[in-house]
Symmetry: C2
Subunit: 346 residues, 2 copies
């Protein structure tokens, strides 16, 4: 046997240059799509690259050019779905640009409120920029520390503030729309399962949207139509049990996230109620489970992937010192109507 993988000398830009009969700089230009290379030369270089099966060395490129961005995705959201989506979005956006995503989990928020820790950790990772997602992005201490360490930053899900970059969606309007949809179906007695108070956005804004829609339609929200959970299935189940036990029983329940909505479905079954015939249930997020549960959930699709992609875009612009038109981007949500909601029974 001859060594297969060991001796295999890497094919470099130099090899390509030699093969194509040009200098390595010209190859580098082709590699970076600079427009100053004659078409025929470009062709020859492409051919050489193909023939030699050349692959540029990402590390060398970023070392030499400072082109490549190492983006840290800092994470403390308990939802695997959220992480995965964020990751996919970031990866897709990084792929073409030759950037990389380094994920780092913040096991506890208190670490990130220590500026020294942040500086240490991020430099060690070698990240040029950082994306942080809720609920971390809502902790101003954390955000300030990261900025203080001189690291570029995009916050996901926060309101614009100062010259901080952010990407978000309009949770308020989204929940408003969702509730309006329920109202249009004929529901008047609608209960809500709120989220925990440390998720400002997902809890407060969604609650506000609910309230806004109800107010606009002159519908009452009695105090016992409001319960709260902590975004877990179980808490949704407990909260929904309570809501479904009130008299008169709500004909629809809006849970502030899908997990709790699924808990609410369970609670309904437990009480012998059918969904959506006896009670309509709606969630928020459009997680994977939302479509796999029975009945599939009516919910709001959060464009998590797009938010991550957009965040990468912003970071790249900033990295290259290009002007950024608007510091905050708001992306579109989508109302997803599925079988868990329907008109109320007479």
């Amino acid at each position: 046997m001859s060594e297969t993988a060991d001796k295999k000398k890497n094919i470099t830009i130099m090899d390509v240059a030699r093969q194509a009969g040009v200098s390595k700089m010209t190859v580098s230009r082709v590699l970076n799509n600079k427009e100053l290379v004659k078409a025929s030369t470009r062709e020859r270089i492409f051919d050489a690259m193909k023939e030699l099966n050349f692959r540029p060395n990402a590390m060398a490129r970023s070392l030499a050019g400072g082109q490549s961005l190492y983006v840290g995705l800092i994470y403390a959201n308990p939802s695997y779905f959220y992480l995965s989506e964020l990751l996919f979005g970031a990866m897709d956006a990084c792929r073409d640009r030759g950037h990389h995503v380094l994920v780092d989990q913040a096991y506890n928020i208190s670490d990130l409120t220590d500026p020294a820790y942040i500086e240490q950790r991020f430099f060690e990772m070698g990240v040029h920029a950082v994306i942080i997602a809720p609920p971390l992005s809502e902790v101003s201490e954390v955000v300030q520390n990261i900025e203080g360490a001189g690291i570029n930053l995009v916050c996901i899900g926060t309101k614009p503030e100062g010259d901080r970059l952010s990407v978000r969606m309009d949770d308020l309007s989204a929940s408003d729309d969702l509730i309006q949809y329920l109202i249009d179906l004929g529901h008047q007695k609608i209960g809500i399962v709120e989220g925990p108070s440390d998720h400002k956005l997902a809890s407060q804004l969604r609650r506000d949207g609910f309230q806004r829609a109800m107010d606009r339609n002159n519908l009452e929200v009695p105090a016992n139509y409001v319960a709260s959970g902590d975004f877990t299935m179980h808490s949704g189940m407990v909260a929904a049990r309570q809501l479904l036990a009130t008299e008169p029983r709500p004909t629809a329940i809006f849970a502030s996230n899908d997990d709790m909505a699924i808990g609410a479905i369970n609670a309904a079954y437990e009480l012998g109620l059918r969904v959506p015939e006896d009670v309509s249930i709606a969630g928020f997020d459009d997680t994977q489970m939302a479509s796999s549960v029975w009945p599939p959930l009516t919910t709001v699709r959060q464009p998590i992937r797009d938010m991550a992609s957009r965040a990468i875009d912003l970071l790249e612009l900033k990295h290259h010192g290009e002007p950024i038109k608007s510091l905050s981007t708001t992306l579109e949500y989508e109302l997803i109507v599925r079988a868990s909601s329907g008109p109320p029974k007479e």
Copy 2:
């Protein structure tokens, strides 16, 4: 305002060397824990590093030394939980070693059965090695293509074969243990919800373990105690409905993964049955939901993180050309008993 972040010249090994009054090579030695530096010099260098707040440049290190491993995590498992766990495990293992994890999603398996695509894609990512997880790792065509491209590889969840590196857990014994536990509780009529046939391991082995335990205890498994799903909650619900409708009704149901087990719980509620009083339900995987659902699921904890960590270890050994004692590692599972299981009613 002076520029805060722009002009901040990076602190390099040279700066440290100057400050400590040594050559940069000596600093490099300290950085790599080579034992040929006098203690007093080492001290001075450490002090200088601290004083200057020096952070080594990961890219330069790996370019110059070929030390750092870029590991690709190739992914086609529909479970966010699985991805996240795998990722966390890989990240943790990479962290100290200065390696990096690049995640790549295989949107469809057919891509990976095309050798040209694989070669193209992986080189582009600049990965030195790859980890693949089920169900991808079970497709021999994919595995062979990756090996054919000369890329180091660790398969997660497959049996040892040739000189291929693999990390796995004993699904067969795990499900056997779980069933034995149910039998010890007093159950004799146990139904199973199988997984889909394209997940050999998760479906077949778990099924086999079930059968082995039943056989050993001389318990019958009538054909209508076996239903199958596709690992989604909904399929578990449908399958469980069917099982719970058979006469005599099983007193326990083993679903081959947690999602289907949760679906089974829903089915039980739907039929007005209590869990675990009327029927015990057990899952497999110990996903996040397993503990957040009500009642929390009895299940088997798969050491997904550990498998990923171990995979990184193996890759590092191989990368450095060190001998690997055993090509396949089998990690321990853990039986997790929660409230969804209990003794059968009289």
